[in-house]
Structures are given as C-alpha cells and as structure tokens.
C-alpha cells in the first residue's frame, strides 16, 4: 500500500497544527469522530474550526479546549437539543472564550464551493431578509454586470486541513464514499491538506448509488479506523447510535461530568473507533 496510509495519531500529528483552519465535514453521516478524539488527545489548540453542523464532534473539541473560533450554520445536537459545551464556551468562556461566525447552510456551502473553485468568492441568493447578515463576516453583495440583479457574495473558505471519514479506500489510496456526502467534495478541493479515515481497505471498488470517489492525489493521509464515525453512522457499515447522542445531553451539561468523560473516554484511551 502507498505511503499515505498512516496510523491515525501519525496522520493527525503530521497534518494538523495548532492555529490551523480545520474543516471536519460529514452531514450527520460519516462524521470523523475518531479523528476528532485524536486531535483532543494530541492537545491541538487554537483551531478555527468550520463545519456546517458542529454536532457532538465540535462540542467535544470545544469542551476540550481545542477551538478558538467556530464557523458554522446549524449548531445543535440533531434530534436531541443543544450543544452544551459550545454554549458554555460561547456564553461563559469555559474552558476558553470562543468566537463564532455564523452562516446559513446555503451560504457556508457556497463558501466551500468558492474555495474548491480557487476563486475568492461565490455568488448566490442568500441571507436576504435575515438579521444574520449583520452579524456575519464574509458575506457581502455584488451587482450583476448584465442587469440590475444584486446577488449575495460569500468569501471562499480554504481550510489548512480537511478531515473526512469514508467507507472505503483502495490500495492505491483512492477513497470511495456513498450515501449522504454533503459538502465533502468541496471541503476536499478547498483544502491544502486532506486526511481521510476509512472503515476498510478493498481490492477494488464496486459501484454504489450516490457514490463519490476521491482520487488519491487529493489526499495526504488515509487512516484505517473501523467505526471511526461512531456514534454517527457509516451507510452499509453501522447505524447512528442515537442513544449516544441522547446520552451526550447529560454528559455535556455539567463541566465535571464532561471532564470525567474526557478523562475516561478520550485521554485514557488510544485511537480507533469504538468497539
């Protein structure tokens, strides 16, 4: 297998630096939790972290003090409620104050599109009528050179590193994912470095509906981490562990319980997904 196959700790150590702009994508599906936990374990700090839906993964990283700024468009525990560690950091500065930059899904999606396209901005109809525009950087307007039309412009986002989880890699280091892929493709093309954790390595991909192949030359490191998206899901591998999402509400509510969780489940364990 080609040399970009690395153990997860080595992949994170090689390509994630404190202070980076990091994107960890996966819309409900294929969220790279194992990679997030390894980032916590390596005590990476001061990340500007972008993700449409921060979800538990960024709540955990915020609680662990990895993140100084969050760029997002929907910040909840999907199907459950609030992200308590995010709220505690944002409202009370624990463990550190975090800055936020908030978008709509359409807007943040198009920031990735512009980043992937290698241009400084994308145009869309967006944010209009919302108070969000007043509070959000990197959103502006452009007038059409062809008519009176005025469109919203959003600035490109270009992560230093994008991290994804996918179902499969082949031995040449190409990656295949299927099911909900969200903005995965755009997050890859927008980034300087790309790390992908995968469920398994196969000889040869077989066709799947709604699938997408990420060629190896777009990827810097691949780590084989079965269950690496747990407690989110990996289509055709395992389902979302909804009980964990519900349990997180309790774990994350109090700093003490969260800190114990961090010690027990992250710091005192080594990498690899659960089970």
């Amino acid at each position: 297998m080609v040399s970009k196959f690395l153990e997860l700790p080595q992949a994170i150590e090689s390509y994630v630096k404190s202070g980076d702009l990091i994107a960890m994508e996966g819309f409900t599906h294929l969220i790279p939790f194992a990679a997030g936990h390894e980032i916590i374990r390596q005590k990476v700090k001061d990340l500007t972290a972008v993700r449409l839906t921060p979800d538990l993964i960024y709540d955990q990283m915020i609680g662990a003090g990895c993140i100084k700024k969050l760029i997002f468009s929907w910040g909840g525990n999907p199907g459950v409620g609030s992200l308590h560690r995010f709220r505690d950091a944002y409202q009370n500065g624990w463990p550190n104050k975090i800055e936020i930059e908030e978008h709509t899904h359409a807007g943040l999606t198009n920031r990735y599109v512009a980043g992937a396209s290698g241009i400084g901005f994308a145009v869309l109809k967006g944010y209009s009528g919302s108070d969000l525009g007043e509070h959000t950087k990197n959103v502006s307007e452009v007038k059409s050179p062809f008519s009176d039309e005025v469109l919203t412009a959003v600035a490109a986002i270009n992560p230093d590193v994008t991290i994804l989880h996918a179902q499969q890699a082949d031995k040449a280091g190409n990656v295949m994912m299927w099911g909900i892929t969200g903005v995965a493709k755009e997050a890859v093309f927008a980034a300087s470095k790309v790390i992908v954790t995968v469920e398994e390595v196969v000889e040869k991909f077989s066709p799947k509906f709604s699938s997408m192949i990420i060629p190896s030359n777009l990827i810097d490191a691949i780590s084989v981490v079965p269950n690496g998206a747990w407690p989110s899901y990996a289509s055709d591998f395992y389902e979302r562990d909804n009980n964990q999402y519900i349990a997180w509400d309790e774990i994350s509510k109090e700093r003490e319980i969260f800190s114990k969780w961090l010690d027990d489940e992250i710091y005192s364990k080594s990498t690899a997904g659960k089970k």
Binding site: H29, S82, Y127, G129, I180, E186, R240, Y245
Partner: protein, 257 residues
C-alpha cells in the same frame, strides 16, 4: 403542549394531521426536521402518495418508512431516489425556485410570519438561550413557492417581535419580500396545535382562519403575543379521521427515540 380533553387525539396529533392535509400530491416539498418532517411523511400515506420530499442533507424524493431522528438520517438516504451534494440541493433545487412548498418549524414567530431559530434574549452576543441557527431555513423561506410553518401556539412562540429574524416571512408587511429580493411567495399558512393562520391577502398579517375541534377563539387569542386577527369566516378544522390517527400513531411509534 396543550391537551384537548374532549377528544381522543392530542393537540400535536391534530397539528400534524392538519399540516399533512395541506400538502398536495405531486408537489415538491423541502422539509425541515421535527414535526414538519412527520407531517410530510404522514401526507405521503394519506392524500399525497407522490409528494416529492427533499431534505437539505441531499436526499431527493425520499420515502422513509420510519421517522428520521435527524435531517441526515440513514433512513432518508436509504429510501431516496437519489442523494446529491449540498451545493446541488441549495443551488440547483432550492435557489432556482423549483420547490413548491417549504415546510419549517420555528422557536418564535411574529404576525408577519418572520421566524426566529437563532436565539432568545436581548442581544446576539449575549443570548439568554442560544438556538441552533439558520441551517437551511433562511433560504427555504426565501425561495420556495410557498412556505408552511408548524409551531405550537403559546405566548412564548407567538411573539409581538421576534428576538431575531432568522428567516423572513413578510418582513414588515407588503413590499418587504420584494425589497429583500426574495424569490418565493412567502408563508401561506401557519399550522399550530390550536388551528391554522393564513396571511391576510392585503395586509399580509397572519389571521386565524381555522380552529381545531374543541379549541375556542379565546384560547387562541390568549396564546398569541400580539393582538390576534381573526377571520370573519373562521372555520373549524375537520376532526381527525380514525385512519389519520392510526397513521400518525403508527408513524410516531417508528421513531427511534
């Protein structure tokens, strides 16, 4: 949630059924998670088997067999005709104006059906309660041909002024949508646990046009944070049929939660 003691159904069941009934067969519907999703899936087992459901996660024409817990649930992907990228969903499907109905929930709504899902409190920087934010809602509210909103009616939710406009309904009234260059027609109805409100054709102010069976108008007025307009032709929602109740209960019982 108010419980209707005189009936054999809950107020949430009535709200969900009333919402489901509004969806036309063959329409495309861009669905928010929670009760909007329950109502949309219910509609497919009722009058709208060919309702074309799209979720912001990229699932296109999905026919979930059980209630998804979240917008990106595997259930939605596994039962979709196809799953596409989010740029395609937002730019090609939604922004282009081809969606018939957007189906949204909200934390707060005002009399012009402006929606808040961002925060409760005085200021954006120091909210009393921080909510999840916009997600797909801002552009769903902007671009769909019409928008239906499902929300329980209380003085906490039906407020004189929303603390933050996440998604515009009719703004400050006639002209606001055009001024903000919003493509779609805006809210066509708000379905609550007490009844249904529709925008007045001239003032665009939400007007109570239906009360659910067993609800009286005072109850609606009391649970509204502004001086509620009531239609002179106020009607009563048709009570849930037994088959509708069976379907909504069967559906809700599939939830993993």
């Amino acid at each position: 949630m108010s419980e209707n003691l005189n009936s054999t159904w809950t107020a949430d069941e009535m709200m969900t059924i009333a919402a489901a009934r509004t969806l036309k067969d063959g329409n495309t519907c861009f669905v928010g998670i929670g009760i909007p999703s329950t109502a949309a899936i219910l509609a497919k087992s009722m009058q709208a088997p060919n309702l074309f459901l799209i979720y912001e996660s990229g699932t296109v024409n999905t026919n979930p067999q059980k209630l998804p817990l979240s917008i990106g649930d595997g259930e939605l992907a596994n039962h979709a005709l196809t799953v596409v990228s989010m740029p395609e969903i937002f730019n090609y499907w939604l922004q282009s104006g081809r969606i018939d109905v957007g189906f949204l929930g909200a934390a707060q709504i005002d009399k012009f059906a402006n929606i808040n899902t961002t925060f409760i409190g005085q200021t954006y920087d120091s909210p009393k309660v921080r909510l999840p934010g916009a997600g797909g809602a801002t552009e769903i509210a902007a671009s769909c041909k019409e928008v239906a909103i499902i929300i329980r009616q209380t003085t906490r939710t039906f407020v004189k002024q929303v603390d933050f406009i996440t998604s515009m309904g009719f703004g400050e009234g006639p002209g606001s949508r055009a001024k903000n260059r919003l493509r779609g027609g805006g809210p066509s109805r708000v379905i609550t646990d007490l009844g249904i409100l529709e925008p007045d054709p001239e003032t665009l102010e939400l007007t109570m046009t239906y009360l659910h069976p067993g609800v009286d108008i005072d109850q609606a007025i009391e649970n509204t944070g502004w001086e509620l307009k009531v239609s002179p032709n106020l009607k009563t929602t048709k009570a849930p049929e037994q088959s509708e109740l069976e379907k909504v209960r069967a559906l809700v019982s599939t939830s993993d939660k």
